[in-house]
Symmetry: C2
DNA sequence: CACTTGACTACACGATCGTGTAGGAGTTTG
DNA sequence: CAAACTCCTACACGATCGTGTAGTCAAGTG
């Protein structure tokens, strides 16, 4: 494990259980009692350590945020095109992604801030990379949403592939599918221009 | 309105309210009483017409499915590249998309079947269109997930854009951002090939 | 007229939720 | 040694959930 030693305390087990259950079932779908049972403690201890469900979610937000930023820095060190390689996005971030998506959908400001930060990063990156979309902000926002989409629809995507995408193999497979969407141009610039004009007429 | 005359009955109002609230708050987040209040009826009438919350959701699934397939046929008649134009995807399908995404995340088989059907369609279309991804199924699944991603993260995307994407203008803007992701190749075929080899080594 | 039927409401039920309270067990601290 | 503190459990509370039951009202129908 790459975690600090004191991270096996009951408090940490509760937080890990919360991240997992919140991510799988959504915030409303996972009760304090479910989380306590998953962590092997009483429901009262959850309250003792975190105060309330809302505070527990805040703690999970902060934890997931820090861990994701750690991974982000690792990827930044790797640098360049390699950062797009799905296999380097190790499955250890999967539970965190699932949680953050759920938390975001539930209105978490921390998770939303992470999303906005990602949009900013993509915007800067696309500029440095020499890409010139019509609306850079919209382009970056769409790309940020895309990166999370397979987490939201993991059950459906797994079913479509006949392979669980929570496994490294399945994750690599759908990751490659995503990559090739970025790789293969679907329509030419001329066709795109036509569409832009047509939509402006409406 | 393009609806049948008898579609303004209390039953229809309940179903419309359910689609709206389920889509906005999720299945668990919208109670029978909320839906009844939104439709301006008693909670008992919801049960009278639909029997249970589960049955109400099934009815919403079926309704949303039929309406979406209607739109799908309209788009098929329009044909070709025009089907990618975000402005032709009229905002009237927005509540239905929101609902179906939520229902899908809640494990709806009807909604999941719609997703799988979309993957099939994209697979066939990409073949006819002359696209040759490494893993066509994964490519199609990723693209299907992508098309729904902006609905899931509508709040975050709206915040990133500083513009509500549930409005036709915002919808067209993010739709164009999506389109340009499909248009502008990010990495060359050679780079993609390198990534494929590298991921196979792991 | 009496009778049936369907739309609709009011109200009560058990279950489950987040939360609050009281207290036990073990360690630290004066 | 005793007081204080932390970790932890057991249990009860009000609220809200989906659901069940009884009954009102209006529109046919014989």
């Amino acid at each position: 494990m790459d975690r600090p030693i004191d991270d096996l305390t009951a408090r940490a087990r509760i937080r890990d259980a919360a991240v997992r259950l919140f991510g799988e079932r959504g915030i409303e779908g996972a009760s304090i009692r479910d989380i306590a049972a998953e962590a092997g403690v009483s429901s009262g201890l959850v309250r003792h350590h975190f105060g309330s469900k809302e505070a527990l979610r805040d703690a999970c937000d902060e934890y997931a945020k820090e861990r994701m930023l750690e991974v982000g820095e690792e990827l930044a060190d790797a640098g360049g095109v390699a950062a797009l390689d799905p296999a380097t996005l190790h499955p250890r971030v999967f539970p965190l992604q699932l949680y953050l998506v759920r938390s975001m959908m539930d209105g978490s400001e921390t998770a939303t801030a992470l999303f906005l930060g990602a949009v900013d990063s993509i915007e800067e990156w696309s500029t440095a990379y020499g890409i010139h979309p019509t609306d850079r902000r919209a382009y970056a926002a769409a790309m940020a949403a895309i990166k999370l989409s397979v987490f939201v629809f993991r059950d459906q995507v797994s079913k479509a592939l006949g392979e669980d995408i929570t496994t490294p193999a399945g994750y690599a497979r759908i990751g490659q599918g995503l990559m090739e969407i970025f790789t293969i141009p679907l329509i030419t610039e001329e066709q795109a221009e036509q569409l832009r004009k047509r939509s402006e007429e409406n």
